[in-house]
Symmetry: C2
Subunit: 377 residues, 2 copies
């Protein structure tokens, strides 16, 4: 085969680069041990040595062959990510909740099966899907600047498109502003789960109707943001407001915090909707779902979780079997963690209608909502 | 922990469903062998027994420990997907290019490292990333209807948003129309790589300016479609037109066909652009990239490959190291497979400017383009 020459440039220069045809070669684990078995002798050094340290907190390794195999797979995932991230100065370790109970207590590790990332004086819990891809993406997000700067109208369009995320945007005089500094400090507390943006441009601020030092808070899928009252804000005021308002009415299940989202129920109830955004009928359904969420966002305890099956292909056959649904079409239901008696709801009168016609769909939601409300309120 | 009751409904009925808190449990490989070692005794039966059969065509297993380990990892991926897809009646097998050379020839397997999917009388090559997620998604896409129906304006919006994909849409009288039948047959030839849509609604057709039996072809990222000449079309005419026009000026690298895209160079040249669509500066850059592609789509040999690093987190540190670029910012360059002498291009006069300012960025593209053209044309 031909050898490959690549000129890839850091924006401005052609950098000629000799390459074999490896441009797309995926990393394979090289077999070298990089993940530390953490104990009271090595944890302090590990914390000091790396810009970030990821500790996986796990149950004691069981006797069962199957559980041991699972543990080995987890280790392999961590080893692969450790290898890939070696360039980035990120360390990895395992902490056994029984054997290393003292260290776990000292470091504040609480939830078995979670990953804890130590970065400067912060500890960030990763309670997502433990796959190499998801973990690598999470760590790379943590390495980015905590605040993204919006410099013009086109960049603002990118901001507008991020309706799935909780995000804040503030308008400040310059990077030297003390209020921007406080905003940045607050951003670090929520990175990478909540996105922070700032602008120093009057024209961008005008389009957002932002006054100087004002900060707007955007709940996912809502059309209008909320201005955080009492500007200018200290770091503490920002943190307090966000902590109080961060639970959205409608959120998308994401691999990076899927377990946290799932467990964040109020009295055990979520409305769960499956819809493929890429499919015309899934898209249509989702637009209605957003409308319903917007109309009912005043209900503080309403929680709708949207799952796009495309994001979790390996779970589709499992969900279809367990829930007896066909995920080639949009589906909706209620998850109730507390009501162990359950209850059947006979909607058979509607069963021959196509409920994806908008009107009926709204009717259907109202039934779900009232079910939800009678169980919560 | 509380036990979990889930009422998840097939659109219209509340189906009470007893569940432990397993709603998000990811499948683990159960250790059972499902992937066949294909030989001349079992391949015919395997083809007959399953609605789809996936055959991984591989080099003979090497002596080297490392290559053996890689082969085992591939096997594990296949076993996991085979387990997950058991419900869907999909079979799996491995074909050794040396040992099973005769069968390979009979079945038309050619490229080692590719997966071939046998579905009815079609063979579909999968030349993408061999991860369980990507493969599962690919197979599920193959199980969907080859043509999606657009029934109203909201669904049409979903269609409009799919600018990354090659897609066709036709307007037909009804599902019984012979021309729709031909369209559907053509769709099966390109599933799941090219997306086919149809509408039977006059109002939808009007919005698309589609006449009866007309079919429009959309190249990725282009604003206007091309009407396929000579309606109504036979299956063969559609297939011929698509085959001739399917190579886009600008395409996004996707896990499901990444190797195919990478290898589909003309005289060895791609322009490669890295940009995170989720980042404001990546988004801005991408909008300019699309403009350039639209302005130059008349050059039949121009090939721009857009890579969103977010889609390949495990490759980021590798790319950064190999190409000496910082992927936290957008980057662009030229891949030249044939010009082994290479050439440095001194753009240092511009090196202190911010080329992401739009004007300079366009200037920069024109330099890249002329480089590209002098090497191709």
């Amino acid at each position: 085969m031909l050898s490959l020459w690549l000129f890839l440039l850091p924006c401005i220069n052609f950098v000629p680069q000799a390459l074999s045809e490896k441009g797309l070669e995926l990393p394979q684990y090289d077999g070298k041990d990089r993940v530390l078995d953490i104990n009271d002798k090595n944890y302090k050094k590990a914390l000091k040595q790396h810009s970030m340290l990821c500790l996986f907190y796990h149950e004691p390794i069981a006797d069962s062959k199957e559980l041991q195999k699972q543990h080995q797979m987890t280790e392999l995932v961590l080893e692969l990510v450790a290898q890939v991230m070696e360039e980035k100065d990120i360390g990895f370790g395992m902490v056994d909740s029984h054997k290393d109970a003292k260290i776990a207590k000292k470091l504040g590790l609480e939830e078995e099966g979670s990953m804890y990332v130590f970065k400067a004086d912060r500890v960030i819990e990763f309670d997502g899907l433990l796959s190499a891809n998801t973990l690598a993406e999470f760590l790379l997000d943590l390495l980015e600047e905590p605040v993204e700067i919006i410099g013009n109208a086109l960049e603002l369009r990118a901001f507008d498109r991020m309706e799935e995320d909780i995000r804040l945007i503030g308008y400040f005089k310059s990077e030297e502003s003390e209020h921007y500094e406080a905003f940045k400090e607050a951003a670090e507390q929520f990175q990478p789960y909540i996105k922070f943006f700032a602008t120093f441009e009057k024209s961008v601020a005008k389009e957002l109707s932002l006054k100087l030092n004002e900060v707007d808070f955007y709940e996912p899928f809502m059309e209008e943001p909320v201005s955080i009252p009492g500007k200018p804000h200290s770091e503490e005021e920002l943190v307090e407001f966000i902590t109080e308002h961060r639970r959205p009415t409608l959120r998308k299940l994401r691999a990076e915090d899927m377990f946290e989202t799932w467990e964040d129920d109020i009295e055990g109830i979520h409305i769960v909707a499956f819809a493929e955004e890429e499919d015309p009928d899934g898209y249509e359904f989702l637009e209605i779902l957003k409308e319903v969420a917007r109309d009912n966002t005043h209900l503080p305890e309403l929680s709708i979780v949207w799952i796009d099956p495309d994001d979790f292909p390996l779970l589709i056959p499992y969900w279809e079997k367990t829930f007896k649904v066909d995920l080639f079409r949009p589906q909706i239901g209620v998850v109730n963690v507390t009501d162990e008696t359950g209850a059947t709801h006979d909607l058979s009168a509607a069963s021959h209608l196509d409920i994806w016609e908008s009107d009926l769909c709204v009717f259907f939601f109202s039934v779900l909502l009232s079910f939800f409300l009678t169980h919560i309120c």
